[in-house]
């Protein structure tokens, strides 16, 4: 039952991303799909935050350094109530706040503007250092892409995080083995990847990046050890969730999807048939609180599934105050 709910949730989040594609006319869908479970576990189970107060001092900071995967982040942030899902309809539009790469402070919940690769980890180091100076207990999570690790600045930052013994900093690597024009092994091999991060002074874990239970288990162990920054290498599949786009290079970035392609994406994500969306359900979702609860993780509850709709809308759980410790 839980697995089924999880699957429904993942599919619903992915449908939201297809919706952004549909209305924005473009996007890095496959790059976002490999992130869905990583982000949903973080926002459902791990991170502290207050959607009604996105700059809440004690929040955990999450930087999506691979900014091109932003549709996944937008889906989660809207789901949690940082902004209305009606913004999905304005993805990449002149009157919207959601662009093809995320921007700070334009988008509530986004901690830094990313898109130019190799920037996020350094910014995260600054935030983690500040948390230490100020004796604040929040954590800093930076999600990087595997292709992004071609950038030398990532490794400058890795040395620096280690030098400063930032155990409040975690880098999560979305290791989907693909980048824009070829596999990562063909373009610029990252292997031995785990031992690279280890040799740069990180405590490293590897995990199936689409297994909610494995991800939750690993993230709940943070920090892995005192005095070392943390790295979680998530083995993922680019385009995960729709078989015909998985590991297909042409889906790195797409624009102007034809109607039949959109229909096939929705269909592959569990929609019985493609119907006009009732966008009014994407409004008035702000002001929720979210986070972990004493009564269990969010996916243990079926409240977020609206089973009456053909396109179930993921909504936030209202059952608990924010975790504050």
């Amino acid at each position: 039952m839980i697995e089924e709910l999880l699957n429904q949730r993942s599919q619903a989040l992915r449908r939201d991303m297809v919706t952004m594609m549909e209305y924005g006319g473009r996007g890095h869908l496959a790059s976002a799909f490999s992130l869905v479970e990583i982000l949903s576990v973080l926002y459902d189970e791990i991170l502290k935050y207050q959607p009604e107060d996105p700059r809440w001092k004690h929040r955990d900071r999450l930087i999506l350094s691979k900014g091109h995967g932003c549709m996944a982040l937008y889906a989660l942030l809207a789901d949690k109530g940082f902004f209305s899902k009606s913004e999905f309809l304005k993805f990449c539009k002149s009157d919207g706040i959601l662009g093809g790469h995320p921007e700070y402070p334009k988008v509530p919940g986004v901690e830094a503007s990313t898109g130019a690769l190799g920037h996020g980890l350094s910014i995260g180091i600054g935030m983690a250092l500040n948390a230490r100076y100020e004796k604040q207990g929040h954590r800093v999570i930076v999600i990087v892409g595997d292709g992004e690790c071609n950038e030398g600045s990532v490794w400058e930052a890795a040395m620096c995080a280690s030098k400063h013994r930032l155990d409040n900093l975690t880098v999560i690597i979305d290791y989907n083995k693909m980048q824009s024009y070829a596999s990562t092994s063909e373009v610029l091999s990252l292997e031995p990847f785990a031992s690279k991060w280890e040799s740069f002074g990180f405590d490293v874990r590897e995990v199936d990046g689409h297994s909610i239970t494995e991800l939750a288990e690993v993230f709940n162990q943070l920090p892995f050890s005192n005095g070392k920054p943390n790295a979680v290498i998530c083995h993922t599949v680019k385009g995960k969730g729709i078989p015909h786009i998985e590991n297909d290079l042409s889906w790195h970035h797409k624009s102007k999807l034809p109607e039949e392609e959109l229909a096939s994406l929705y269909s592959a994500l569990g929609a019985e048939a493609r119907e006009p969306h009732h966008w009014n359900v994407y409004t008035n979702l702000r002001g929720r609180t979210s986070g972990s609860s004493s009564s269990g993780p969010i996916w243990a509850s079926a409240r977020w599934i609206n089973s009456k709709r053909k396109f179930p809308i993921v909504s936030s759980w209202k059952g608990s105050p924010n975790r504050t410790s």
Partner: protein, 271 residues
């Protein structure tokens, strides 16, 4: 000390500044502006963060070390970015007046330093304020416009020109961006001849900023205008900052001869 990792250091500073700190990043000017331009553009300027970049060896200070170490287009690079304030103090006293003001200033600041121990050419009779041009000397015939250490040669030149009955004013622009258009237009509207002097490529620095303002000012009476600075080349010899400045005519003597030529005073009368 954070190592030879300019890209990372700018990102770290951005992270600290997002959290409310005011980081001061100090390193060699050219490595601060060329090497990590994208980090400055995206992490600092796009976010409009309170980070202070202090570039050592602006211009041709590192002449003996060759063109890899010269910062001859740093101002042009920084000028092209929104939100950043660019300041090139003329001497240590001006630096002393500047630094307290950087604490409350909004947005990123690039401070271009000279080599240190340069002659003191400023005084506290003209109050320093970030964003303001400093009217250092009155003069009705010519307006010399300077930034950084070129204030010194301009003052020498003004004295020499005075001996030739050419009345030369000086507008010192320690802040190049935002350009103090109001003060510049006030003074330049009264002068027949305007000369900018900078230790920087002629493309995109002080002279360009002045030219842009003049071009759109539509003065009722025509002006003569000249930029003195480094031509569009990589300096191809070593020596010293002084020798390269002499080579490119960033000197009192060249200012005098250029002004005389523009004022149509015969060269033969040069003492």
């Amino acid at each position: 000390m954070e190592g030879i990792s300019e890209q990372n250091v700018i990102g770290m500073a951005a992270g600290l500044a997002i959290e409310g700190k005011i980081p001061y990043v100090n390193t060699i000017a050219t490595f601060l502006t060329r090497r990590c331009f994208e980090q400055i553009a995206v992490d600092l300027c796009l976010h409009n963060l309170n980070v202070r970049l202090i570039g050592n060896g602006g211009g041709m200070v590192y002449a003996p070390l060759g063109p890899t170490h010269l910062a001859t287009e740093d101002i042009a690079l920084m000028r092209s970015l929104p939100n950043v304030t660019i300041i090139a103090p003329a001497d240590a006293d001006e630096m002393r007046r500047l630094m307290p003001q950087t604490v409350d200033h909004e947005g990123p600041v690039y401070i271009r330093l000279a080599k240190g121990y340069d002659p003191i050419v400023t005084n506290d009779q003209v109050p320093f304020e970030i964003g303001k041009g400093l009217h250092m000397r009155d003069g009705s015939d010519v307006l010399l416009v300077t930034t950084g250490v070129t204030l010194g040669p301009a003052q020498e030149a003004a004295e020499q020109l005075s001996d030739l009955n050419i009345d030369c004013g000086i507008l010192h622009m320690p802040t190049i961006k935002p350009f103090d258009t109001e003060t510049f237009l006030d003074l330049s509207s009264m002068a027949r001849t305007i000369v900018t002097v900078e230790e920087h490529t002629l493309m995109g620095g002080l002279g360009s900023a002045a030219a842009e303002v003049i071009a759109e000012a539509n003065f009722y009476t025509p002006k003569k205008f000249k930029r003195i600075g480094i031509p569009d080349v990589f300096p191809d010899e070593y020596g010293s900052q002084a020798s390269l400045m002499e080579k490119y005519g960033i000197s009192a003597g060249k200012i005098v001869s250029d002004v005389r030529e523009m004022m149509e005073v015969p060269i033969v009368s040069v003492v």
